[in-house]
């Protein structure tokens, strides 16, 4: 191992992003001080799970963790992918946490990827599987990813604390992405969405939809929100409900928001807080509808949640100029920009557009090619 030069990093921040960029750029990394001062030091179960997932989809990757889990050595291998893979994401973070990096890795794999992911499909912390279907996949297509073979199938749903959801992710491989100029936001032509309920009355869904529609009523008639009540096996192991909404514009942009309501995870039980009442479905529907209007108001071709992925895809493009428009830069997106610079050497030109209060970003891609071609 000694012959490699490692990029030295500190702290647990953006671990999944660092591992992703490390793999894409074939840069071994050494991370120290991972929650060294925390009551429970070291890597969290979901981070370990993500490392296991990386091992599963790649050949020759080496993961070394010290006893306390505060130090991690990672030497990326070759992303092989393959069909009929299975991974249990655990219940400490939702499947959304794993989907984001995995879909990018899959594009640059040796074979197309098809993997069954088990765990939590909807929660309040990570983008839901519905958002992935409605917003993330269309965004990938903007970069020239073929729609054939790109899919996320929801087999069953699961919410915190016990999960029990299952999805099947399929990702095709690409030679390279396609640089884009994407600054036309267009106008919102329709609003769509999904609600779900697991182990609670389906009436919760109708209440959420009614409340959400009330907010959109005076802006747009074309609003359809579909219900997805799950029962039995397909409902996972915990009670919960949630809603994800997205707005489609005339120029093909998708702006999305989502949330879910359920009882707290096991790790939070130690806290003094008693079991909190779940927030009522009417409030949830209204809140999420308002959040969607907030995202539309701030402008941009993607929502705040997707900014980071948008920048990453731009940076991975061939050496052409990409130009995109977003609303206010989200904190996570800023972290992504910094890591892109460190790993890929791509620096964006960031200019505010005062007339619309949006931000225009430009970059020249790093010219990433699918590495597997080398070995063919």
């Amino acid at each position: 191992m000694g012959k490699f030069s490692y990029m030295r990093l500190k702290g647990s921040q953006n671990l999944r992003l660092r591992l992703l960029l490390s793999t894409l750029s074939s840069t071994p990394i050494l991370i120290e001080d991972i929650r060294a001062d925390a009551t429970w030091p070291g890597l969290r179960p979901y981070e370990v799970s993500f490392l296991r997932l990386l091992e599963k989809v790649s050949d020759d990757c080496v993961v070394e963790i010290n006893e306390t889990g505060t130090k991690l050595k990672y030497k990326p291998g070759i992303v092989m992918s393959g069909r009929h893979l299975v991974h249990d994401c655990g219940t400490s973070r939702s499947i959304g946490y794993f989907l984001e990096p995995l879909v990018v890795l899959g594009l640059f794999g040796k074979k197309p990827l098809s993997i069954r992911l088990k765990g939590i499909t909807n929660d309040s912390k990570d983008p839901s599987v519905d958002t992935f279907r409605s917003a993330t996949i269309p965004m990938l297509k903007q970069f020239g990813v073929p729609s054939e073979g790109l899919d996320l199938k929801i087999e069953s749903r699961g919410v915190p604390p016990h999960g029990g959801g299952e999805v099947i992710l399929s990702v095709p491989i690409v030679d390279s992405l396609k640089a884009i100029t994407w600054i036309d936001e267009g106008m919102v032509k329709r609003i769509r969405g999904f609600t779900f309920s697991t182990r609670v009355s389906s009436q919760f869904e109708n209440t959420m939809i009614h409340a959400a529609r009330g907010i959109f009523n005076r802006l747009l008639p074309d609003v359809h929100i579909f219900t997805d009540h799950k029962a039995g096996e397909q409902a996972g192991k915990s009670p919960g409900y949630g809603i994800s909404l997205y707005a489609e514009t005339t120029s093909g942009c998708v702006i999305s928001v989502d949330t879910a309501v359920s009882y707290a995870r096991g790790e939070d039980e130690g806290e003094l807080e008693d079991e909190k009442e779940l927030s009522p479905p009417g409030d949830v529907g209204e809140e999420i509808a308002s959040a969607l209007l907030g995202e539309i108001e701030q402008g941009g071709v993607v929502d705040s949640t997707h900014q980071g992925l948008l920048f990453l895809l731009c940076a991975l493009c061939p050496q052409d100029v990409s130009k995109v428009r977003v609303g206010k830069l989200a904190p996570y997106a800023i972290e992504v920009l910094r890591h892109i610079r460190d790993f890929l050497g791509v620096k964006f030109v960031i200019k505010p557009d005062p007339s619309t209060e949006t931000v225009i970003l430009k970059c020249v891609g790093c010219g990433l090619k699918n590495l597997s071609r080398k070995y063919n």
Binding site: K10, S290, E297
Partner: protein, 105 residues
């Protein structure tokens, strides 16, 4: 002023390396008496990280989802009017203007 704004955004993102300053902070806190460090009440750590939700937190939570609690009342007529032209039900010429103006940037 617009050029100054450019620099600010670029500085906001790329201005200073992210993880350096927090190390300095840690070293200075080590100088405090050992006892205080040893008897740290449970939950102190999380409290600290809550205060320091900024660029320098090396253990920042890894979350792409960004859901602002909108404190605006979207039933308000003025507020609705402010985004009406972003919908196909609004004024199309104004909406296209929005995209034209910015082609130059």
């Amino acid at each position: 002023t617009s050029s100054r704004q450019n620099i600010n955004l670029m500085q906001l993102v790329y201005g200073k390396p992210a993880s350096k300053t927090s190390n300095e902070m840690k070293e200075s806190s080590d100088e405090e008496s050992e006892d205080d460090e040893f008897f740290k009440p449970k939950g102190e750590g999380s409290k600290k990280s809550k205060e320091g939700v900024n660029d320098n937190d090396v253990d920042l939570d890894d979350c792409s989802k960004f859901l602002k609690k909108s404190h605006k009342d979207w039933r308000n007529e003025d507020l609705i009017a402010s985004i009406r032209d972003r919908f196909v039900t609004g004024d199309w010429s104004k909406a296209s203007l929005r995209n034209q103006l910015s082609e130059g940037t």
